[in-house]
């Protein structure tokens, strides 16, 4: 269908145009318009894709329920972050720090980043999936070192090096899997197309496929920030400009988890559903949660704090996939993306108003900056798994599914980890609220757009914790059915 091509062509064209526009403000506006147009395009095709897969380009591109669900999330988070970028970089345009060159670089890389993530979700060819995933690394590495100051360059370097090497292992995994598939595919089946891989899976040799999945998990797991391959993540997410951090944490990690989850049904079909994949996913998930506990407790920089929190939530999603709680994993993905996005927006505003990101140095947060302070407090509460936010429901869902499957010990460890994280995550934030106001806080100059950016997503999160629209339940079930190999 033509819309799939348009979904790719629009951001590519946007990137080219953005690289040629002379005015920084126009570049930022173009990013907003482009991202909103992408939302409209996605809205045209997502409902159809939820019912039946949509193909294009000789089945090289595909949008099915699973990728449609993620696509919806990507375009919405991107649209919000583009508006935030306009608000965030706007003042910098006026004082000249956000120069013409920076703006062009930002516009091109921002659209390139969007295009590559959409490509990850649209690729039916697992080779193309890899190519797109590596492209996301390159585009986002450029965004991380946008200001070209030494710490951000160093963070960008570490990010690119570790992720490129990690993803090279995923390429080996892809080749191993396709090599296995080549021995059994017949006729018009192609060993590179995911749809054919799933169909041919029962005929493949388990040994070869397991080896391939190991490399895929470690490779894409590096990108997803699963411990112990997470070392690049806090630096990259902490040093990137805040709108970029929001997208990195909010949806890029999802895309990497999506890539891993695509291969789960293939492995399950090969191994006859003996749960081999989950014996790998569960430990990775638990270790990520535990590692996050250790680091969150000692972190003062708010952005790095949120970055470690992302490792925790990626861990929860991996754990949910491992426990077979597919709809819960997807629902948690949604909650985490939205909450993390709002948390980064709020930190962006706060840091601007207080002149620092150090949680020990900020005081009287709600007094000095009511909107950003309240936004951060509520977003962190949501991330800590407090009711009524949807993350509470999805974590509960994972726990219930886990107990029903008989993994009580795993669930206990999971709940303990989440509880400790809730405490260590809230402690610095509550400190910023209760500490008496010190001098130096600049009064807020935030407009209605900023209120919309922070309040609207939080309202949705709260609502989703109390009431599930039938549309969302339907989408979750259809996407989960694909993960179960249905």
């Amino acid at each position: 269908m033509i819309v799939l091509w348009l979904l790719l062509a629009l951001p590519v064209a946007g990137g080219v145009v953005a690289a040629m526009i002379p005015s920084p403000r126009a570049v930022l506006l173009l990013c907003v318009i482009g991202a909103l147009a992408e939302v409209v395009l996605a809205a045209l095709v997502v409902p159809a894709a939820l019912d039946a897969p949509v193909f294009a380009g000789g089945r090289q591109l595909m949008l099915d329920a699973l990728s449609a669900y993620h696509l919806g999330l990507v375009v919405v988070v991107f649209a919000f972050s583009s508006v935030f970028a306009l608000r965030y970089f706007g003042p910098l345009v006026q004082d000249g720090t956000f120069s013409r060159g920076t703006a062009r670089r930002f516009g091109a890389a921002w659209f390139g980043f969007l295009a590559s993530m959409v490509m990850v979700l649209l690729a039916n060819n697992v080779g193309l999936l890899w190519v797109a995933m590596e492209t996301t690394t390159l585009a986002s590495a450029l965004l991380v070192c946008l200001e070209f100051d030494p710490p951000s360059v160093k963070a960008s370097w570490t990010y690119m090096m570790i992720c490129s090497v990690g993803i090279a292992l995923a390429l080996l995994g892809t080749f191993l899997l396709c090599g296995e598939a080549r021995n059994v595919t017949t006729g018009t089946e192609s060993p590179f197309l995911w749809t054919d891989l799933v169909r041919a899976a029962p005929r493949m040799r388990p040994g070869g496929v397991k080896l391939a999945f190991l490399f895929l998990l470690v490779g894409y797991g590096t990108k997803a920030g699963l411990a112990p391959m997470h070392t690049w993540l806090p630096d990259a997410h902490g040093q990137a400009p805040t709108p970029v951090s929001a997208v990195l944490s909010g949806v890029l990690l999802n895309c990497a988890m999506y890539a891993i989850s695509r291969f789960v049904p293939v492995v399950d079909a090969v191994t006859g559903g003996d749960g081999w994949a989950s014996t790998l996913l569960v430990p990775f998930g638990l270790v990520s949660i535990l590692v996050a506990v250790a680091f969150i407790a000692h972190e003062r920089d708010l952005k790095r704090l949120l970055a470690y929190c992302s490792i925790e939530h990626t861990g929860i999603i991996a754990l949910a996939l491992g426990l077979g709680a597919m709809p819960a994993a997807l629902f948690h993905t949604l909650g985490h993306s939205i909450a993390k996005m709002v948390a980064f927006f709020s930190v962006g505003f706060l840091a601007r108003q207080h002149g620092t990101r150090d949680s020990q140095a900020i005081s009287g947060m709600l007094r000095v900056s009511p909107l950003a302070g309240m936004g951060l407090l509520l977003a962190v509460l949501a991330l800590a798994g407090a009711p009524p936010f949807s993350l509470f429901m999805s974590e509960l869902w994972v726990a219930i599914e886990g107990v029903e499957q008989g993994h009580t010990a795993v669930v206990v460890a999971f709940l303990l980890g989440v509880a400790v994280i809730a405490v260590v995550l809230l402690r610095p934030v509550l400190g910023m609220v209760w500490r008496p106001v010190a001098k130096g806080g600049r009064a807020a100059g935030l407009g209605w757009i900023d209120w919309l950016l922070v309040a609207a997503p939080l309202a949705v999160l709260g609502l989703l914790g109390l009431w599930m629209p039938a549309l969302l339940t339907d989408a979750l079930n259809k996407a989960a059915a694909i993960l179960r190999g249905g």
């Binding site: 060819n125 080779g127 200001e147 710490p151 951000s152 960008s156 090279a168 390429l171 003062r300 990101r357």
Partner: protein
């Protein structure tokens, strides 16, 4: 003209060992270029040069071979050599281990690859038995360079070597890749290496200016 795949794969391993045993970055980059050249010739050797006479596959083969040749043997090495000159770092700075030890380790990695290759992926009839061991050895030595490299350029070279190794294994397993995948991967590697090279030059300039990259305090940098 006939190309012997086994000979080419042995050459790949030889180049790995050379890269592991020299500390001159220029020599490493040139060796990497040579490895790119060998890699470009590999599909011709595996499928036989006769493939060039077949009408429909000629476009595919010429494009794949040509792109590998131009990017891996010419463009990327030239870019890396330029980055080396501009950053002013020409040698691996005081290596943690002597070059003899490094060479010995690389030798062990090669041996290990032959063993793993024999256990995990037994050679199939009609394909070179060296494919998987050569690829694995290249991957492992690339990883070794990336991890142990003290200069950024060595890490980039290690990444290139790792990528070459993955390609050798892929070639052995799949024969040929779909064109979009092959070209896409090549393009990604090109852009990745270019970006890395830019950051290398930038970082080393910063070092020269005496800026302390590590001195970043909490709450510093951009808000």
């Amino acid at each position: 003209m006939s190309l012997d795949a086994d000979l080419l794969l042995l050459l790949v391993i030889g180049i790995d060992l050379f890269i592991g045993s020299t500390s001159r970055l220029g020599a490493r980059i040139r060796a990497c270029a040579l490895q790119g050249l060998v890699l470009a010739a590999l599909p011709l050797a595996i499928q036989g040069t006769g493939v060039l006479a077949e009408g429909e596959r000629i476009v595919h083969t010429v494009l794949a071979v040509g792109a590998t040749l131009i990017l891996k043997a010419v463009v990327i090495p030239i870019f890396l050599l330029r980055a080396m000159r501009r950053s002013g770092v020409r040698r691996e700075a005081d290596p943690e281990h002597s070059l003899h030890l490094s060479l010995l380790l690389c030798g062990v990695l090669v041996g290990l690859s032959f063993w793993i290759g024999a256990v995990m992926l037994p050679p199939q009839a009609g394909s070179s038995p060296l494919g998987v061991p050569a690829g694995l050895a290249t991957m492992l030595i690339g990883l070794f360079l990336t991890i142990s490299g003290r200069t950024e350029l060595t890490q980039v070279i290690g990444y290139m070597v790792l990528e070459n190794g993955v390609f050798v294994i892929g070639q052995r397993l799949l024969g040929e890749f779909p064109l979009v995948v092959e070209l896409g991967v090549l393009l990604d590697v090109l852009v990745a290496v270019m970006l890395m090279a830019i950051l290398v030059v930038f970082t080393n300039r910063q070092h020269e200016q005496g800026a302390d990259v590590a001195a970043e305090t909490v709450g510093g940098g951009a808000p």
